[in-house]
């Protein structure tokens, strides 16, 4: 595996800061009757997806092969519980703006407990386990909150319950969030995996989630806000997907061929 070009600390900082700032700007703007900034919560979710994907990449390099999909589901499992708890707590204390931060803190705590259990009780003995599971849970909660805020246009627990959960739009959000976190590394599994290729793929998976959440917000929030989100999501997806293809060309080298028989010597 090649050396990391971006350290874990840099990726985490970007993921948490951009994630929270995006969610807050979108939430505050929507409560001030400006729903057109909802796409910022989606951009936060894209960066959070990247943070989760990098954590999956680091923990799964210890030889967790078929566990990659499971760990993505685990991320959103921890994420949905923490996100709903945080938002509900914000509603209980009449301070909706503490919701995302409380959710994030709870997710980090759950991630730490799950990581400790896996390492100490099940004795997986993976040194980065605790930290990576905290990052994965944090990414899960930010993706889920980000896309939910983007669809509902509010950080209010009651509004999100009514517009995202009761309508069922939580289903595509949940599964696209999970696949966004697990798919980048899963699709690059192999000894010649490189960090920049996996991470650019994470952006493109996050952008897919953002685009579909934008489609859902057309019916729930505002058609123009939804279309803005879709256009921005598709633009991010196109740029990052083409970047991914370019890096595949770079990594495959002479093996990137239009057609042909098996390589010389392989027959």
């Amino acid at each position: 595996m090649s050396a990391s070009t971006e350290t874990a600390n840099q990726i985490d900082t970007k993921g948490i800061v951009v994630g929270l700032v995006g969610i807050y700007i979108a939430g505050i703007a929507a409560s001030a009757e400006i729903p057109y900034l909802a796409f910022l919560a989606g951009i936060g979710a894209v960066f959070a997806t990247k943070m989760g994907a990098d954590a999956v990449r680091r923990v799964c390099s210890y030889g967790i092969g078929t566990g990659v999909p499971s760990i993505g589901m685990l991320a959103l499992g921890m994420g949905i519980i923490s996100a709903m708890f945080g938002l509900a707590l914000g509603k209980m204390y009449n301070a909706v703006f503490i919701g995302p931060i409380v959710g994030l803190v709870i997710a980090l705590a759950i991630g730490f407990v799950v990581g400790t259990l896996a390492n100490k009780i099940i004795k997986l003995n993976i040194p980065v386990m605790e930290r990576c599971l905290m990052e994965i849970a944090g990414a899960g909660v930010l993706v889920l909150t980000g896309l939910s805020v983007m669809i509902a246009g509010s950080m209010d627990f009651v509004v999100i319950t009514e517009k995202v959960i009761a309508t069922g739009y939580i289903a595509p959000v949940f599964i696209l969030g999970a696949l966004g976190i697990l798919h980048p590394f899963n699709a690059s599994l192999g000894p010649d995996e490189t960090q920049d290729r996996t991470l650019i793929h994470a952006y493109s998976c996050g952008a897919i989630g953002m685009t579909i959440a934008g489609v859902c917000s057309i019916a729930v929030l505002d058609p123009i806000a939804g279309i803005i989100s879709i256009v921005i999501g598709l633009a991010i997806w196109y740029v990052t997907f083409m970047g991914f293809v370019r890096l595949v060309k770079r990594d495959a080298g002479a093996g990137y061929v239009g057609t042909g028989l098996l390589p010389p010597g392989a027959m």
């Binding site: 999909p69 939580i170 696949l179 000894p191 010649d192 290729r197 579909i212 997907f241 057609t259 392989a266």
Partner: protein, 300 residues
């Protein structure tokens, strides 16, 4: 609802589920997802580079749950009165089309990404493999998603069956279900039968034979289309019948009976299937067994 109408809906859902199961299994066979994927993934590492599609979009249950949840989500957006008020069939078709596009994107990235990550084993990224297979993957995914979103719609719509869960959540659950059944029923036909058909019954698999399966077909180098051809003869239809039976029997017992009678009927169905499966298993062991006697170590 009239009993005849209820049974008609149950029959429609069973039929849609049968088509969905068959199509889902063939889709995963073309892409070598789930069961056979570890063989395809390992092949290059044990010295067998290949031209098989390597579609690793997590396991089958989450990936199908994604297509169905997205299909249902998009269809539901279109159903809201402010957006479009066309026939639900058109809306479901558009939703399934969006899901098929996602299938194409995720398949492309997993094929390119995984093969590029195995460069040191001489595994090439063949663009013609990608172009040939992606459209058939998307086509099969479209059929599967359309049928499952349709049956979820019938289950959810208040004037039809009126299930209390939201539409996309029902689709997510049935997507997980069809993926799980495709993975456990149909993929065995590809992952075990297709790959190891020249081995003696019960002889186990030598690790050195792993990956051998990706190389030669009935004629020439094996491609993913050969696998679809092989699996469409048994694995796909078997998955379709399995998933169709799950949907049909489950909804039949709750439509035809009510309350505890439905629970008892469910138990009877499960018991009958357990006994029937055990009978088939012992029959196969008697017919094709016993395993060859242990003949001692074989010199390397």
């Amino acid at each position: 609802m009239e009993p005849a109408m209820g049974m008609g809906l149950v029959a429609l859902m069973g039929a849609a589920a049968t088509v969905a199961g068959c199509s889902e299994d063939l889709e995963s066979d073309i892409g070598s997802q789930s069961n056979p994927n570890s063989q395809v993934q390992l092949a290059a590492q044990v010295g067998y580079p290949h031209r098989i599609f390597n579609k690793a979009i997590s396991g089958e249950p989450p990936s199908n749950a994604m297509y169905c949840a997205v299909g249902a989500g998009v269809a539901m957006v279109l159903m809201s009165e402010s957006v479009m008020s066309a026939s639900p069939l058109i809306e479901i078709a558009i939703g399934a089309f969006v899901a098929a596009l996602l299938n194409g994107v995720f398949s492309t990235t997993s094929y390119m990404g995984r093969n590029a990550s195995q460069t040191r084993f001489n595994q090439y990224v063949y663009l013609d493999v990608l172009r040939n297979q992606v459209l058939s993957l998307m086509g099969h995914a479209y059929i599967a998603t359309f049928c499952i979103v349709l049956l979820s719609y019938v289950l959810w719509e208040q004037t039809l069956i009126g299930h209390p869960f939201p539409f996309p959540v029902i689709a997510l659950i049935w997507g997980l279900c069809v993926g799980a059944i495709g993975s456990s029923t149909g993929d065995v036909h590809y992952g075990a039968e297709r790959e190891f058909q020249d081995f003696k019954f019960g002889s186990g698999l030598n690790a050195a034979d792993s990956g051998n399966i990706t190389r030669f077909a009935e004629a020439g180098i094996r491609s993913s289309m050969d696998n679809a051809w092989f699996c469409s003869k048994f694995g796909g239809p078997a998955t379709g019948i399995a998933f169709g039976m799950v949907v049909f029997l489950d909804n039949w017992r709750s439509t035809a009976f009510g309350g505890w009678t439905a629970v008892v009927v469910g138990l009877v169905i499960v018991l009958a299937l357990v006994i029937y499966n055990r009978k088939i298993e012992t029959y196969a062991r008697k017919k094709y067994g016993p395993y060859p006697e242990y003949a001692g170590e074989i010199a390397a």
